[in-house]
């Protein structure tokens, strides 16, 4: 049977673990969002930043330039014409970066999955997604929940180990 200290050491260095907690805390509490809207969901995203729901409470502020953003919220239908641009935007963001796929359209094509000849069926075909928020469009509460899920994910990240 392992003692408490052993467990700590197998999980990683104490110093590293504490520093890690601090750094993760910093990252998760200041997720600046790329001010970028695509379609209907963008309106709900704006509503989330506005007075009633107030994204700013969680430290999320919109940044116009991808260079200063931490999360990109894919808010709406991704078309084939737009997909390459989104990929470029994603590449322009500095690491560490996160993606929330907001709404059915960017999750899987949504109502346009069958006959949408010009719709990309899911943004995850182009860039990796961290959190999927379902809904058409998701309510602001749902987006907030998505953000909290993302914060949970960031909290469990590690400097030394690759996270699952």
């Amino acid at each position: 049977m392992k003692s408490l200290l052993d467990q700590e050491f197998t999980d990683g260095n104490i110093v590293i673990a504490k520093t890690e907690d601090l750094l993760n805390w910093a990252r998760l509490s200041s997720l600046w969002q790329l001010g970028f809207g695509l379609a209907c969901c963008a309106i709900e995203m704006m509503a989330t930043s506005a007075s009633h729901y107030d994204f700013d409470r969680f430290g999320v502020i919109p940044r116009p330039s991808p260079r200063q953003a931490d999360i990109i919220i894919i808010s709406g239908t991704v078309t084939l014409k737009m997909a390459t641009r989104i990929k470029r935007l994603f590449e322009q963001m500095p690491e560490p970066k996160y993606i929330i796929s907001m709404g059915s359209c960017s999750n899987c094509g949504g109502p346009y999955w069958q006959h949408g000849y010009h719709v990309l069926k899911g943004i995850d075909r182009v860039i990796p997604v961290d959190v999927y928020v379902p809904g058409c469009p998701p309510r602001p509460e749902a987006l907030l929940e998505g953000l909290l899920k993302l914060q949970e994910k960031v909290r469990n990240e590690s400097l030394v180990k690759k996270t699952l």
Binding site: L80, K81, C108, G109, Q114, Y117, H118, K121, R125, V126
Partner: protein, 175 residues
């Protein structure tokens, strides 16, 4: 204010060759015009006193799908022959009357005159009809694709026999 039948009669008098027929469908009577004369007809409609159609409400390209249909083994349809049409909905704000014109062009060689120089808003409408249906508007200043990507080479999506490509720039298109 004039009824559509009166407008047809005026047009028939002016252009006996080019104004082809009047279909009195109860929901929307339609005047069929020769596609290569549509510019002249429209100019007449705008400039003549008593008609004065100053706005083009809508311009829509339609695939009539009235040709010979063959079913392909993969479930899709190929259409040969028949026509593609363009519908013009005109309206006069001054006199408050409306008219619907139609031109039909052969599917294999879909060419119609552009009315862009008469009503500026036809510019984008015609580009859209070109983009979606594939109708070529002669004398249009800038006939490019408008909604689809400029390098889209899989055809005109609103044709009834359109087949979606498997990939576009490495992205899978079907679900």
């Amino acid at each position: 204010m004039k009824t559509r039948e009166e407008i047809f009669n005026i047009l028939k008098q002016e252009f006996p060759q080019d104004v082809l027929e009047f279909q009195n469908i109860p929901t929307e009577p339609i005047i069929t015009v020769n596609p290569l004369a549509i510019h002249r007809v429209c100019l007449f409609l705008r400039e003549t006193a008593g008609l004065e159609f100053d706005t083009l409400m809508c311009l829509s390209g339609v695939d009539d799908a009235n040709g010979e249909k063959t079913n392909d083994p993969d479930g899709s349809v190929t259409i040969k022959g028949g026509t593609l049409s363009v519908y013009y909905h005109l309206h006069s704000m001054k006199l408050d009357h409306k008219v619907t014109l139609r031109v039909s062009t052969p599917r294999e060689d879909p060419e119609a005159e552009s009315v862009e120089s008469i009503w500026k808003c036809a510019d984008w409408h015609e580009r859209e009809a070109y983009d979606m249906i594939g109708i070529i508007f002669l004398h249009h200043p800038d006939l490019r694709r408008i909604l689809m990507p400029y390098d889209w080479d899989a055809g005109y999506p609103l044709r009834k026999d359109y087949k979606n490509p498997e990939f576009y720039q490495g992205m899978k298109v079907p679900y």
